[in-house]
Symmetry: C2
Amino acid sequence: MTVNPYDVDLDRNPANHQPLTPLSFLDRARKVFPDRLAYVHGDIARTYREFHERCCRFASALSKRGIGRGDTVAVLASNVPAMLEAHYAVAMVGAVLNAINIRLDAATVAFIIDHGEAKLLITDREFSETVHAALGRVADRPAVIDFDDPVYDGPGDLIGEKEYEAFLEEGTPDFAWSWPDDEWDAVALNYTSGTTGNPKGVVLHHRGAYLNAIGNMMVWAMPPHPVYLWTLPMFHCNGWCFPWTVAALAGTQVCLRRVEANGIYDAIARRKVTHFCGAPIVLTMLINAPKALRDSFDHQVEVMTAASPPPATVLAAMQRAGFRVTHTYGLTECYGPAVACAWHEEWDDLPIEEQAALKSRQGVRYPVLEDLMVADPETMEPLPHDGETIGEVFMRGNVVMKGYLKNPSATEAAFKGGWFHTGDLGVTYPDGYIQLKDRSKDIIISGGENISTIEVEGVLYQHPAVLEAAVVARPDDTWGETPCAFVELKADADPVTPEELIAFCRERTARFKVPKTVVFGPLPKTSTGKIQKFVLRDRAKAM
Amino acid sequence: MTVNPYDVDLDRNPANHQPLTPLSFLDRARKVFPDRLAYVHGDIARTYREFHERCCRFASALSKRGIGRGDTVAVLASNVPAMLEAHYAVAMVGAVLNAINIRLDAATVAFIIDHGEAKLLITDREFSETVHAALGRVADRPAVIDFDDPVYDGPGDLIGEKEYEAFLEEGTPDFAWSWPDDEWDAVALNYTSGTTGNPKGVVLHHRGAYLNAIGNMMVWAMPPHPVYLWTLPMFHCNGWCFPWTVAALAGTQVCLRRVEANGIYDAIARRKVTHFCGAPIVLTMLINAPKALRDSFDHQVEVMTAASPPPATVLAAMQRAGFRVTHTYGLTECYGPAVACAWHEEWDDLPIEEQAALKSRQGVRYPVLEDLMVADPETMEPLPHDGETIGEVFMRGNVVMKGYLKNPSATEAAFKGGWFHTGDLGVTYPDGYIQLKDRSKDIIISGGENISTIEVEGVLYQHPAVLEAAVVARPDDTWGETPCAFVELKADADPVTPEELIAFCRERTARFKVPKTVVFGPLPKTSTGKIQKFVLRDRAKAM
């Protein structure tokens, strides 16, 4: 057998092969644009030179404490400098960043600290009561560092051995950090907010973080030096990789402790924010803000949204308000967004409602996700591109997680058949764009017919009085299940009755999809603004 | 010893790891933007759907002929559709594209066909005389397919078994092409135009091609759907990866058989070209074109240049003419450009001559090149960032070649010490930007002092009568070597004598750097517009 010449004497070596890592972005930004602003936070403004130096101190301090490759460093904080710096410093010693959701209860935080085996925890003073309670429950207590944010003057004790700035002083600014040995090494650990059972620890790697950071840039056509506002929690899937994307473009990150309309509009006007991300709840908040706020800026702002499909009415209102919305879709398991509704220029000429309808579809694969399909979960065969046949959404590619930490059975189930099983249900349109119809567990089966709760919610959102709507299954002796709608009305809306809303739906959708029950009141939400349908399902069941 | 949990049960599998390959770009473009124009050539305009179908036919035809992984497919053609399609179709069967320089002599073409072991050769009718002669010399004759360009009506016989379109008919448009097994697999083989000895075959891989395609996009801040004009030969280092970059952005590639001012300006005006690349010779041609041509467009055109540093005067003239020039630097060994003069916005406020001086520096690493330094070639220690100390330029990263085909000693020498040795000499400025001073072999050593020939050429270019200048070493009994200048004057310039030019230089540079000899006349060039200094050195020696 002859040997192929391309397989001989052409091996990897340090000159021609280096692990892909998002650390490369910071390294380049601080060398090429050392004097550009890396981030601002209140009155604090730091250049890439300073940002890099602080990350080096941080990494050096970790190293001096014996923290290195494969160790976990947890951070429980809002969108503050310590969180941003952790996205680089932890990786600089080969350790793994575990960003913890600030709204979790003590028991869950304790579970995460134990399961993730955190060696060190940085905690934001605002949340110290919960963290203190969590630390009282853990089996193995990590070193604890406080982050006492100068921008925050509310309650909360210092509970750690020292404050973050003093911790940085332990390190040296000229620390010689090293690249990962392997791009497959873990870079982050993110616990999914499981609605049943314990949360699962999603392990991400350097290769995927590097690639999805670039994917964001490509999908959003981001220019050099964007000004990126932190409306999306960084503890939510590493802020969809944007801590890394922005550095790759030597842009400025605008920290933000609290997501509320005043702060967002102020940052947009004063910092000339060009880009931000947020769940539809953030969009709803912005378009329902007072007119004076909405009129406070005059440049175009790019907004990326995901988490759940924004109703067409919200998209249209955002567009009128000067925000250009890019709709994406993803999960913690795929580094945040990995699917995007890629825009066609010719759609610009359509009526705005039609544009919004097109944009409400999740779309097509990120350039860095290698494959995407809606398929039959039994046979794994792709389903017709007819916009109607519902199947499960499957992904494969370099921006899919390594797996779940210490959970081989969940990992195996997630990757069965060589594809990542998203658990989301959707359809594919003739143009290849996918649209989510529901989570597997959310879909309603009424009289043998599948009902997409998202579709019914879209109908409810068309009613001018509706601020937010969520539809879930309610058990029914005759039909098996029927749609039950929970609706929060706008504060200033004209009065409307459940019967009127039902009649409204009946004019706009098939009879079997019309909610049989409508309940008014505020909706329960997760920390990331997702409506907690499992809570509503329990309520519907109890009615 | 305890096992790190991140190292357990978190392995690669098809769901979370796929080889990086530029084929991914075409796959996405044809699925998401099937109706956008992929390329135009004369009256031919083909969409991404058509482009992909033709590539599938091409790949299928190769497959039917038994050509697959690790086989070489050679193409000798100008910038025509067959060449563009070969950049995808060949990789679709795991084969390796060997694009051959159309200006080589028969003996060299024969050497390349034999050394690269091409199984099939596609040849442009215009160059069939040379190819016919080459085929008469080869040890192992490949299958030969003619490309008979409808846009070309000059001389040249058909010498192959069939024409390209008939060859495509052998294949099927629904061919199920496959991704490479490994991103380290070879994707292209490019022979360097060695000035001594046989050319060396640079082997590039899928990973690097994918990454440098993205690097181009990042460095140039390319928007979606660019209109890219093929002024740069695709046989030159795979057109710096732009056949792949443009598909990643679902842009349109404008083919061009011949690089001359009329055709370029016509394409810019008629096709609304947004981007093109070219050696400084192309820039010189454009700014010296008649005013009517120069005034024929009114949009901004982005131009990437490399190969040799453009003189400040050329850069300034381009800027005035409506072209924004991005200066890059690279070699065949690093997929084309891998270093770029990243621009700082604040430089926009400087006088245009200062801007041009800053821009004449090669700059900083591409985001996808992991490291770059000017170092002492003996010790491999980085040299001071003082803008003066000359050392060799070294690179390391994912856009460095696999190595030279069947040439382990050259590969080993190129990668000695874990860095790629470029053979170029340069300095680093205090801001970290590098500037080339010469090729190792071009530098002049006069009385023990190093003289950068590029620097002396820069002085000559400041003279209004000088169209092109090249400085080489001339042996000298007293000094060892002295600078000898070969100069081509502008057709319409006022008369100037060698003595006047020497006096002009004396006013502007150190005495030992002033050419002792000035010779007027046209300059010998390679196919890519590089001045052949080895020819001039021979002339200088013989004087």
